[in-house]
Symmetry: C2
Subunit: 260 residues, 2 copies
């Protein structure tokens, strides 16, 4: 699989992607992923893909990779297509779709977080979308790995908590579930939304907040979410133990039926 060397996705990060879980022979939450991609296209001013093609290419990628019987990650990439030189898009952009699949075994054990120096850009709509311009996340993850951790804790330019490099972040303050608000430069995660909905069903209060980094010093039950890991507890933050909270496993269990 190759792509044209003048594609704006390659040259400028001009495009979007979705990462879907393939589990028990089916795509999980395909409609939610398609809808998010469509909203992203509106925000960026790109044409939206056809929903049948979105699902069709995802299923084909799984088959092509021989992963029908495997837990897999499917990535759909939607670029702005070929363009002339420079930042300005052609008047009538013709996006390209690429699909690929890879095995995605569930994560082993809890995650260790390390605070990265690279900040999320709360002043750009791209910080709330899965765009092809994901370098800040790559750099934050790299910092975390160099610090011996699995994932980065990213703050925004105000110093407020945004989340992981490839995951949303939640924690408990007493019995209240807390997560950074989208306006902090946070990806509108599909699993994030499902966890909030499940928490409401369990009778929990959920706060979406702008919280400085030191809010986590009294937090319990830190966990990460994304489409591939579901709910993954965090047991260390910057080398310090992160205490558990009994409701984290309840939230993880509540998510399972929706994951195939």
């Amino acid at each position: 699989m190759t792509i044209a060397g003048d594609d704006r996705g390659l040259l400028l990060g001009d495009g979007l992607f979705e990462t879907l879980l393939w589990s028990r022979g089916a795509l999980v939450a395909a409609r939610a992923h398609f809808n998010r991609l469509g909203l992203g296209c509106c925000e960026l001013g790109l044409p939206t893909p056809d929903p049948d093609r979105f699902v069709g290419e995802a299923v084909d990628a799984v088959a092509r990779a021989g992963l029908r019987e495997t837990r897999a990650a499917v990535r759909i990439t939607w670029t702005a297509g070929s363009g002339g030189r420079g930042l300005d898009r052609p008047s009538d952009p013709l996006p390209r779709m690429l699909a690929s699949a890879a095995p995605a075994p569930p994560p082993v054990g809890p995650a260790r977080l390390a605070t990265a120096s690279v900040r999320r850009n709360e002043g750009s709509p791209a910080s709330r979308l899965k765009t092809l311009a994901y370098l800040d996340n790559v750099l934050a993850r790299r910092e975390a790995r160099l610090a011996g951790a699995d994932e980065a804790l990213m703050l925004n330019n105000r110093g407020d908590i945004a989340g992981g490099a490839a995951a949303n972040l939640f924690w408990f303050e007493g019995q209240t579930l807390v997560t950074p608000a989208l306006e902090c430069g946070v990806l509108a995660g599909i699993t994030r939304a499902a966890v909030i909905e499940n928490a409401h069903r369990l009778g929990l209060v959920v706060w979406e907040v702008a919280a400085p980094a030191n809010s986590l010093s009294d937090a319990t039950g830190l966990f990460l979410t994304n489409s591939l890991i579901g709910v993954r507890p965090v047991d260390r933050l910057d080398g310090h133990p992160a205490p558990d909270h009994p409701l984290v496993s309840a939230l993880a269990r509540a998510l399972e039926p929706s994951r195939g």
Copy 2:
């Protein structure tokens, strides 16, 4: 020219680029561009290209496009190469180089600027580099075009002036030349550096500052710089006339000998 569909430049914006001017049959400031790319590689943790290959591919791209006798823009793209799924790079990344060339006639007349809502991410080293994750700049330019302007005025998350979407910005306060400091989330422009050096030669005082957007209300002689346009005066900012300053044309002239 195509590139592998699993290239991290395409999938994540993981890579860098340089845009060089080809003028009077030669590359302008090739060594400075190569050095900047090398510094960017250090910052991102990528291997650096070979300098002879950098120049060779640039010259070949001009020849391939039939532009030897033309004023042209040469783009060298340096991606992180193919990688597995997710944010983590392979342990031994093998970058790819792409080169292309396109005609680049000098800009016609002064530029109109419009302030964009999309902010530059001063909290990421990527804001000071030409990376493949250039979507914020694409979005800012798009806003400017929709407002009837040629280029965006981008602020950072603190509300300080950063520059254009694809250009650095300068202005005069009296006889002092002013430009946003790199830590405001500003690309370390090669023409920016040349203009500062020339200004010192002309006996001017140059301030690199963190300046709020309203600093421009009393400014004169706004101008943009990049490798393709050199010095381009700005005559309108958000629809209001931007007064000229006699030293702008002196700075434009001072730059010309270094541009082939």
